[in-house]
Symmetry: C2
Subunit: 482 residues, 2 copies
């Protein structure tokens, strides 16, 4: 038997969230640090979650009519500079290639922080007439943003994996219709698959994407009361099409700049999932995004080993025939107890135990990861029981997360209340004038809190700005954020 | 109707292969050049082929027990230098990041040309005991090799997409078993899906991977008689595990360096496919790798439009129910003739035409892309006919390519015959002493030809080396290559 021990999480989530988070990422073997600060190694269990996110989102994007492409990793400096606000937003974080082999380059090449400026010169070449529109392209790739803030695996890093959609339409109306489809996709994907409730709405002028006319975001609130911006969508209007001379002949035979959107989802969602669902025993992965949904652990004794293994394999097959992904952990170099800890730490939604006594009783034992509930299930109803149990876990995780989210938000009417709410590690919901000056003032006075977004569905508004007292134009969420 | 015209390929494959290739890549809209020399933009039709390659290969790798991971894009210079032969092989082609934002980095970071040197320090950390082995990881990513040869889209570029498998085993035997599984996967995938016959075998000492003990490759011969190295596999023995201090406690409790393999398939295969199957009318995509297998073109007249479209949609559904991917091109801004040219240029394996007269006769017209053969098919047998037709196209393409490959290879006994064969744009098969000195001599005297590989199945050998007259140790293929 194993002499090795598996080490659990040594700190409580409620006591030190940051340290708990760091431990869980490494001990559950989702990812590890590397020699390059801010760039992590995605281990198989972490990367498999990203593959699931990609698979599901990619399918939905294709159903919307979006096609995948791939553009170069490197962007010539003069391209990056073509849209003024855009370069201002990104250039402080760009990693520059200046040498190749033993030679200096005549022009620096940026590793893409985002790909507008390498894609749109090609768009300008490819788009000629209204017949070429809409052009709705997307790419899944890696990007670099050389931030100097403290990196946090998945949540904030210098390299991350994402998709970037870059779409072009003949009319503003079509582009804005897509904005709605995409933000709905992000909200529903987060909810249905990752059991993550979000705050969705429009970003402030100050916080919108560098180069956009307006930005929509999803925001997720972590247990420490800090917000994380999730997948987003930006309506760029004709800003980039003008900067990059993208033009098309419309049906009247006139030249026109088309309208553009960009949108993205990233590996950050994995971090949000860890932070919100994880507990003091480790990771908790929602069944609909879990690479392994069920682990079967046979209790092996010499005299009944073959029978038990046979039954375990038969259960595996039965469950797989219902589309459930199952791992049978029949390793003999580890004890069942070691395995229980291992798969708990790794967040597998449901554990099935089967030993010789269970075989006699024609039953198995199931243990839910989310609430540790143990049940005896008759072997002949196992597929149905497991399917419904996984659904219930998914549902419970979402409900719990939604309850937690709601508990973090407080409506405030003035800055004093806002300060108290920040002190209590909460999120502010307040009527706001939405001016950049007011936001900068708020940020300074709170030591870095900022607006998150303005929900699409607005409560009645007949208020003064909670901050400056002028007429409020919209309800907004505010908080500390990553 | 369209005033636009679609332009066909303006040059014959047999007259100017290079120019024909360049035109076909751009006009079929697989890819386009960008401002960064050697880095192409993959357009939707090109990227979709890569997605199919990835999907099929990834599934097969997972069935072999291999798991996906993701490691950082950037490699610290001191890591890249840890294995002497490896750094010697790659450093002339490395793109270096030296600045981020407005600061100079204290140590240069290489954009990965391949990931051994960023992955193996993590492997050293993660691998402790025999229980952790085998560790069979793979990543799909982009790599940069800043070559100064003339770039050719897909075939040779500074950035390309690939997978890189990096596996670790407790014993040489297990590692070498995997080498066989992988090379078989590459040969069979190329044959079955891409209809591409290959020469598979062991590379020479001079041509093996920088850092490997030995390398196996697949080689493809283009119509111009030049070879392209395709997917490969390298047995590294303990070279890297020693250089990176990867050690494990074996079952006897002793520390030991494990054995490693690396292997890859890249976007180059798309180039090989274009070059070998394409013809003077454009691209020809083998059905089993084609993103769109069938295009339906309805012949629309005002008085029968609705009926014809309805039938076309019904055919589409029927074919899709059999797993066939179908595009119904019902655009009214283009003529049927324009569409015929378009889809021919784009290499869709089978075209179905349907007009009002066909409706009356309860038939459709099918036109095969590979041989232009036209057939009238009864509507009620269409699924069966199309399935068997696609199979026949796949089969015919392979047979034609195999015949062409065989016609390019000539067995030679001495250097004079070898020279003649190179002059005739062919591949040499010859008994060889396999010494690096002899290979360098051959390369110099032929203006750059080199050994390709030594086939696993060797003919009887009782010869002198075709080049230096010493005792031959193996039959080898030689030729000019990309």
């Amino acid at each position: 038997m194993a002499k090795e021990t598996n080490e659990g999480i040594k700190i409580k989530k409620e006591e030190n969230f940051s340290e708990w988070y760091t431990q869980i990422v490494q001990k559950s073997e989702l990812a590890d640090y590397t020699a390059v600060s801010g760039c992590i190694a995605y281990r198989p269990d972490g990367y498999a979650i990203w593959e699931n996110i990609q698979r599901i989102v990619d399918k939905e994007l294709k159903q919307l009519g979006i096609k995948n492409v791939y553009f170069p990793l490197l962007i010539p400096e003069n391209y990056l500079k073509k849209e003024a606000e855009h370069v201002k937003g990104f250039s402080p974080e760009v990693a520059w290639v200046t040498e190749t082999g033993n030679s200096k380059l005549s022009e620096r090449l940026a590793i893409r922080p985002t790909s507008e400026t390498i894609m749109y010169p090609s768009y300008a070449k490819w788009i000629r007439s209204w017949r070429d529109l809409p052009m709705r392209y997307n790419q899944w790739n890696t990007v670099l943003r050389w931030e100097f803030k403290n990196p946090i695996p998945f949540i904030r890093g210098r390299e991350f994996l994402w998709n970037e959609g870059h779409t072009v339409f003949a009319s503003r109306k079509e582009a804005e219709k897509e904005m709605k489809d995409i933000i709905n996709l992000w909200v529903n994907f987060s909810k249905e698959y990752m059991a993550l409730p979000s705050l969705s709405g429009q970003k402030s002028e100050k916080e919108k994407f560098a180069g956009a006319e307006y930005s929509w975001s999803t925001e997720f609130i972590l247990p420490n009361g800090k917000a994380v911006q999730g997948p987003d969508a930006h309506f760029d209007g004709t800003k980039f099409s003008k900067a990059f001379s993208i033009e098309f002949l419309n049906k009247d035979g006139k030249k026109q700049n088309p309208f553009q959107n960009t949108w993205a989802i990233s590996t950050r969602q994995i971090g949000v999932m860890i932070a919100i669902h994880g507990d003091n025993n480790g990771l908790v992965i929602p069944p609909k995004i879990a690479p392994t949904q069920v682990v079967i652990i046979p209790i092996l004794f010499d005299d009944s080993k073959l029978k038990v293994l046979k039954e375990a394999q038969s259960i595996k097959k039965k469950l797989e025939s219902r589309g459930i992904s199952v791992r049978l952990d029949d390793r003999e170099e580890y004890t069942p107890g070691w395995k229980f800890n291992e798969w708990e730490l790794k967040g597998i939604p449901l554990r099935i135990e089967i030993g010789p006594k269970d075989l006699q009783k024609k039953q198995v034992i199931t243990v839910r990861r989310d609430n540790n509930k143990k049940e005896f299930i008759k072997s002949n109803t196992i597929e149905k029981s497991v399917v419904s149990c996984l659904e219930d876990i998914q549902d419970s995780l979402y409900k719990k997360a939604l309850k937690q989210l709601k508990s973090k938000i407080v409506e405030v009417k003035n800055f004093k209340e806002a300060q108290l709410q920040l002190k209590n590690k909460g999120i502010i919901f307040a009527p706001w004038c939405a001016s950049t000056e007011c936001e900068e003032n708020f940020k300074e006075k709170t030591g870095g809190a900022k607006s998150l977004n303005s929900p699409f569905k607005q409560p009645k508004l007949n208020h003064e700005c909670f901050m400056c007292g002028k007429k409020a134009v919209s309800w907004f969420y505010f908080g500390k954020s990553y």
